[in-house]
Symmetry: D2
Subunit: 348 residues, 4 copies
């Protein structure tokens, strides 16, 4: 931590800062610049509050040097986290990228869901996704089938062997979801629902955290830190597009660079959702390919047996025929990815 | 709702769209443009899903004409909502702007809190704010005193007559909070925690919703719609700064224009938080004044009896002396606001 | 300047960085942290290139401590810049805020322009603004009357005594504009047209620089630094709204906090344009008031004698009657601003 | 064009709008909604100004249906533009993606530039890039060698056969640049320097326009429209990252989705600059690959013979050895791209 003093800070103000830090048992080193003085703080900063120092008279700015996340960082944990499921499927590290597909929300028509699941299995996908509890911006939109939806997902798993990914919206639903799902997904709008993250730290199932629409990469990693710090190391990160100033042609800006950045700074697996990330069906294939060659550990995208009559997000869903075409193209890219033994790898 | 067809859409594709809509019991009107054709949909659109239509072949784009919020809109409810508390304090409409002040979080030192509350009362403030449950980006930061914090707030209310505003983070805590608080605040990061919003629709206490750091005004109004549609009409909106590309000199961009915009489109009261909105102590006064003259129904800002040792957000908190100076300046502005009888007024 | 090394940087890499800096004649101080090492650089950094250091092996990040702007900074020049015009009008410091008004573009109808100018004079405004050269996003929009427009502005000045502000779009037009204008305005889209800024440093007339739609405050101050460093100290800054993720209800997000921030870090005057900043006529009055109480040295807004037939930006222009109402309200606020002798003042 | 009336607009206000449009020789069609009325305008809208209509009483909003760009749109020109250079190199359509490489700025050391050019030729690149005129945010940074830099580029072309791409910053320099360069590049900060764009419409050399850091895709296409409408059809677009709220780990957010979007709506070639787009050397390879598989017609990235001593942007430049490694990896991806005969293709 570096404390920058104002250009007109007094010696007394500087001394007060130094003393404050040393009273906390940390060392300081003062660098007298030609214009500004700075104080470097050495040692374990977890006992001091940067905001308090920033509030002291004569302090201009605090510059943090270390990342605030610890357990999810490569500094503390250089090897990739690889999550292994009961059926042998793996996510992370140098493992083959996985595909998570399914409708935005699980609907009344179970046969439609099953059609999707069968097609997914046939195309080599590993996960069936579908929302039973749905976060919707408007209270007038469809809010999900709830437990019935979970039962449908479980039934589709039984028939196909696909693993089930579904969203958890509230701490009260965690126990129920654990009965049905293989991965509990935290939606983008709940990425900083800290009570929920803490509670998910106390379960055993893997948790997938979607990046909030205006979350920085650091905030995403800190959200993961909540889960890991509370006892659950099995966290998957998901890039799903961030809000930008241009939403005319795509709903969000899919931040492909987040993939190699996250892989550099964290050991956790990272997947990409090109359906929500763009909001447009025709962009799933090119953005899915882009994510794979940039190093994504998997993709999540939407398929619906009848997008024209979907209860949500039809415009970004593929129908089954389109799904097969897109998945064939994506599988071709997956087949060509080369692996090596370097730390930050998966070359193409 | 206006459906724009692609320039090369076929007559068959156009007919399919028209038929789809008419099957839902709505009327259509086709406008044949020189380049693009558009279909206008007339009638109650709540039964149709725009995304499904957007997903149909030959459809380029859907343009929505009506606002998706209804109950919080001035169209349906032209008069201002004014919320009246048991002690006669009012928020909204042409009422005098209120001041909500206090520490970011309630801490162990009750006497410190009481000092703040007494100063607040002395300066004419109406509300004491303070977090008992704290949402923190990092799991390693102070997470709040929980019920003990609520008890402290209640005790300070008893001694000063101030009303209490405090944050609710989880549906499970609502009942507890209702025992202690006069206003339940939904934090910015929970603005789209829809389970929480729905649950808050079923209580009687006023709810204050903070705008999410990347939430549009429409999304904020839809969050309020969740509460109102579930039965609780007493909602206060709070602008607290949005994320922008420039965070070097202020933590967020405080969107002052949101005040007159919200007052034009909605009847709900809107207050402004210049502490979180800027993250800098020296900006509280100028931005507080700016918010008041732009029509805010109140301000919320942070005071701490000892900011250098605050558990959170010290850099944006005023100490008691600074608080009195700033509040004196703000009260001067409040005293000069003129009121008239027009619908969207509060001239200055 | 602080150089942060990677957690796994070698001693050799660290030494190479230190040697590089010392070879440039600067001093270093190495702080060995528990996880990361940092190198503080002491002395005049103008001879070294931070990017080169950032490119060296083992370097993680460079943190700059000093602001990159010098001449426009309060550090080097603590007193406010006040610009005085030949007719005694002053902008900056503790002077009364000025009003710059007029149509977006000067049009063929001189009588219309004159009507606006007469009304402006009558309401106590000091400047007539109007574009003769117009930057337009689309090549199919009206591009301005060019020299004829300048002549009209000069004629209106002659008849009313108002000073003339108009936009310069190209280095080739500077000489011509200097014949007619009292202030040359650099448009938001040209804020980083560095050839133009340099050339404006070589003239005597005051220059007003509008903040680019995605420019940080630092970038705006560096644009001003270009003009001042090339010899022209008379620079006015203009906040006119930045691009955000929400443009449904206002075209831009007017960053009111930029006013007190700029006044803290720079001595240059800063004015605000609520017309372009919001794009909505009804927002001019509340946002103009907000800017004034937050410390703006002036306002610029659009008036047209016949907005329905304006060649550009009709929706954000006031007609003459509306202009008088709004200006009356703004003058009331200006009349109530109190001045004191502190450095960063203009209290309200 | 769709004109949405306010919910309380009067019949008279509606009639006034209709009459205004019909007086301009266009047809209208009024759709009476249950809440709002809308007026559809049919015919060539180039004679009417949407902003004027937006300014009329009772009008709530204008929704534009057609894209404002014409010549660069696929609607008017469905076939891809392919630009062919004198040496047979082609950019656009289904042609093999090109590589444009070189230092950020041309520096005094010609031998260094030549080393880069020789390596580029050896790796199969087609273009040498390098700035002779440099736009720099700070006036204290290196501003370029100017004509001497151009001479060096031309000499390197002579020795290697590479084509030369270099930036034009001012209308006054166009003639000079045309003597030396094969492609004139418009920098991101000049993307809306309309005088410059118009002047570039009158030359014969291809023009490459970089997307402004906060420009929407529509604004980029309108910038290209300026050049094409003034007579020069040979325009290349370049995505180089946009400003977002997260710049901690990458300087900009590289908008990979812009590639398939531009290819859908325009016939112009689009290339990607992963050096400026991320600001980090280690991101060039993964983002370069991502751009290629998403359909980019080429890449531009920075190489310097000695990045530690580069005059600008060292941190995002590769040294020659790194350049060869990265280019080998990119060439492998280029070699695997499949082509078909569909309009918007280049499958992978």
């Amino acid at each position: 931590m570096i404390i920058v003093m104002e250009h007109n800070a007094t010696a007394e103000q500087l001394n007060r800062v130094v003393k404050y830090i040393e009273n906390k048992g940390l060392q300081t080193q003062v660098n007298n610049g030609t214009v500004l003085n700075v104080v470097a703080v050495i040692g374990d900063k977890s006992g001091i509050n940067a905001e308090n120092i920033a509030a002291m008279d004569g302090v201009r700015e605090i510059k943090k040097i270390q990342e605030p996340f610890k357990l999810v960082s490569r500094v503390a944990h250089p090897e990739d986290t690889v999550i292994t499921f009961s059926n042998g499927v793996k996510i992370g590290g140098l493992e083959k990228p996985v595909l998570m597909v399914g409708p935005c929300s699980v609907e009344k028509d179970f046969d439609g869901l099953l059609k999707v699941a069968i097609a997914a299995k046939e195309m080599g996908c590993q996960f069936l996704r579908g929302g039973a509890f749905k976060p919707r911006t408007s209270p007038y939109d469809f809010q999900g089938l709830e437990e019935k939806g979970l039962q449908y997902l479980a039934k589709a798993r039984e028939k196909t062997g696909l693993l089930v990914v579904t969203e958890v919206m509230d701490t009260m639903d965690i126990a129920l979801l654990c009965q049905y799902a293989d991965v509990l997904q935290v939606g983008a709008r709940n990425m900083q629902n800290f009570k929920l993250l803490k509670a998910l730290g106390r379960i055993k199932k893997p948790v997938m955290i979607k990046r909030g629409p205006a979350a920085t990469i650091k905030e995403l990693l800190l959200a993961a830190e909540y889960v890991v710090a509370n006892g659950n190391p099995n966290v998957i990160l998901c890039e799903r597009g961030i809000k930008g100033f241009d939403n005319q042609y795509s709903r969000n800006t899919l931040d492909i660079a987040a993939i190699p950045i996250i892989r550099k700074y964290s050991h956790l697996p990272v997947i990409v959702d090109p359906s929500h990330g763009t909001g447009k069906r025709y962009l799933i294939e090119p953005m899915g390919k882009a994510a794979l060659v940039a190093g994504a550990h998997g993709l999540m995208y939407e398929v619906h047996h009848d997008p024209d009559n979907a209860m949500c997000d039809g415009a970004q869903s593929l129908n089954i025929e389109q799904f097969k075409d897109v998945t064939r193209a994506l599988n071709k890219v997956i087949g060509r990815i080369d692996y090596d033994n370097k730390n930050n790898p998966q070359t193409y």
